[in-house]
């Protein structure tokens, strides 16, 4: 399988691991317990707000079914709302995620990590400025340095994007046609 070789400073090459980002203070975790509900609401957000690409985000969530269920979208508000396992998830245009559903910290972080791995394709790449899905699929002109055959067990891309490359390309083609 031939895969694009990307610049080292492209978001896809840099990777995005939530525990690391939290430890570095690049993402913040907050919890709140609204009066008398008895449940904790978990919120994670980037320390510096981002601008997620909404059409890409929507396409990714559509692809992710049935991992995410009952997704709802509002382009006007820049919001995706869905169930992810036991968690009621709201993902905002600025990268903030809100998780509700009687979950402890570990469960909430696990869900957040899954959602972010999916949504990562809609995060803006610091090099080309476009959604990183375009970089990963090789359609970004700025970040692709060349193409190379992937070696078994030495794939250059993070697991989700490499596995979903073809689906991602299909999603981009559908987006270009204006469909879902």
């Amino acid at each position: 399988m031939e895969l694009p070789r990307l610049r080292g400073d492209c978001l896809v090459s840099r990777g995005m691991e939530l525990p690391e980002l939290l430890a570095q203070g690049r993402f913040l975790l907050r919890d709140s317990r609204p009066c008398t509900t008895g449940e904790t609401i978990w919120e994670l957000e980037p320390a510096d707000p981002l601008q997620l690409d909404f059409p890409t985000l929507r396409a990714l969530f559509e692809l992710s079914r049935p991992l995410s269920t009952e997704p709802r979208y509002s382009a006007a508000l820049g919001v995706v709302r869905c169930w992810w396992g036991k968690g009621r998830v709201t993902l905002f245009w600025n990268g903030k995620i809100r998780i509700q559903g009687h979950l402890d910290r570990e469960e909430a972080l696990r869900i957040a990590a899954s959602v972010y791995r999916l949504a990562w394709g809609a995060f803006p790449c610091g090099v080309c400025g476009g959604p990183s899905l375009r970089c990963a699929s090789g359609e970004c002109g700025a970040c692709v340095e060349g193409w190379e055959e992937a070696e078994e067990g030495k794939e250059p891309l993070p697991s989700l994007l490499e596995g979903g490359r073809e689906e991602a390309s299909r999603a981009l083609r559908r987006l270009a046609r204006g469909g879902r």
Binding site: P34, T36, Y73, S74, L77, G78, T90, W93
Partner: protein, 396 residues
């Protein structure tokens, strides 16, 4: 009323947020902030005790604030007790009253927890009057509930969830016929409309500074002079006594006997300035302004598919409070969406009125509450409506 002029006095509004949570706590204008800073910078000293110039000035300003507050509600300064907040003011009455055997308290399902829990006292029966589905209270229900063993009728003036007004004057007559005290929670009415304690006929009226442009940490208990004198101090100590011997003491007259220890001086002075500010804008102007915005908000929300709006319909008079739920959505989630995606700040949850949510609205998860004040604009209401409409159409 010149809303833009008013808005220029509120520094937080420069952040571009739409603040629709004034029923929880209002914003504070520059003149109030300046007045509090003036206390700390120019005459910071204790009140009522010292003879030096700073103490004298601080006492003058503190008592001037008391006169401002008294004037706002048609009371005498001696009838105004500074407390921490509305909750403490209500507890001052409940704990300070000498309860007779077998007495009862009549209250309503509309009450904030702070006008319900203080009345739950050993040996005191609490009777709860239920409103109709839209939150209207029928004076006839009070006639049936109040009897000669009723010590207190405790009633909100304006519901903090539904915005509905209570028939306080009619209930005052009923309470008076049976010799009961009428204790009114004015936390949501005094900041927003003209309130006159003589016209209302209440025995006590409680409200908070932080909901009426003042600082946190100061509230007010108005009490008719005679009944105020019958309350035992909640916090006996410094400043409450005329004479103390090793074996006894004699309390001062109210309000001093009910303001134990150093009072919230800067806060009271700030509240006095907030009252001056409200008077300068005009409470009747504020009421009309809020009424127009509330009607617009209600008319649109009432028609929106997927929304459940609580309280009386748009054509009936109510305060600037609108509570609702979006079908299939948790109220906290809706509030979070409004904040992050539209910059609209609203309240979500039970608003300290769980019995109302559980037993009248049948919504154990609570509700979303938007509340208005003098600094809100028609454009802000439109942006709020657009965002709620989008949530109801696309996300539920």
């Amino acid at each position: 009323m010149d809303v833009e002029r008013v808005r220029s006095d509120f520094p937080i509004l420069r952040k571009g947020l739409i603040y629709l949570d004034s029923a929880a706590s209002s914003l504070t204008p520059e003149p109030v902030l300046s007045k509090m800073l003036e206390f700390y910078r120019e005459y910071r000293a204790n009140v009522e005790r010292g003879v030096h110039r700073l103490s004298v000035r601080a006492t003058e300003e503190f008592e001037a604030a008391r006169r401002e507050v008294a004037g706002l509600i048609g009371a005498s300064p001696e009838e105004i007790v500074f407390t921490k907040n509305t909750t403490e003011a209500l507890n001052l009455v409940a704990a300070g009253r000498e309860w007779g055997r077998g007495e009862n308290v009549v209250t309503t399902l509309l009450e904030h927890h702070s006008n319900l829990l203080p009345w739950r006292r050993p040996g005191v029966e609490v009777r709860v009057v239920r409103p109709d589905r839209e939150g209207r209270l029928d004076p006839g229900e009070f006639e049936r509930a109040v009897d000669d063993r009723t010590g207190v009728v405790a009633l909100t003036h304006l519901s903090n969830v539904l915005g509905t007004l209570s028939p306080v004057e009619e209930v005052a007559e009923i309470a008076s016929e049976h010799g009961a005290w009428l204790v009114v929670d004015g936390a949501q009415s005094v900041p927003h409309r003209e309130v006159d304690v003589r016209r209302l006929g209440c025995t006590f009226l409680a409200f908070s500074g932080h909901k009426m442009l003042g600082p946190t940490g100061v509230g007010v208990l108005y009490g008719r002079r005679e009944e105020l004198g019958r309350l035992s101090p909640l916090c006996p100590g410094g400043g409450t006594v005329r004479e103390v011997t090793s074996g006894g003491h004699e309390f001062l007259e109210p309000p001093a006997r009910l303001e134990g220890g150093t009072p919230p001086i800067a806060e009271a002075v700030g509240l006095g300035e907030a009252v001056r500010y409200l008077k300068s804008v005009g409470l009747e102007s504020i009421r009309r302004h809020e009424e127009a915005l509330t009607r617009r908000m209600l008319e649109e929300l009432w028609e929106l598919e997927g929304l459940e709006v609580y309280g009386t319909p748009p054509e009936e008079e109510r305060g600037g409070i609108v509570s609702f739920n979006v079908e299939g959505m948790d109220p906290h989630e809706v509030a979070s969406l409004l904040d992050t995606s539209a910059g609209v700040l609203v309240r979500s949850g039970h608003h300290c009125a769980m019995p109302l949510h559980l037993e009248l609205l049948g919504r154990p998860q609570g509700s979303v509450r938007a509340s208005l004040y003098l600094y809100n604009t028609a454009e802000e209401v439109e942006r709020f409506l657009e965002a709620v409409g989008e949530i109801a159409r696309s996300l539920r």
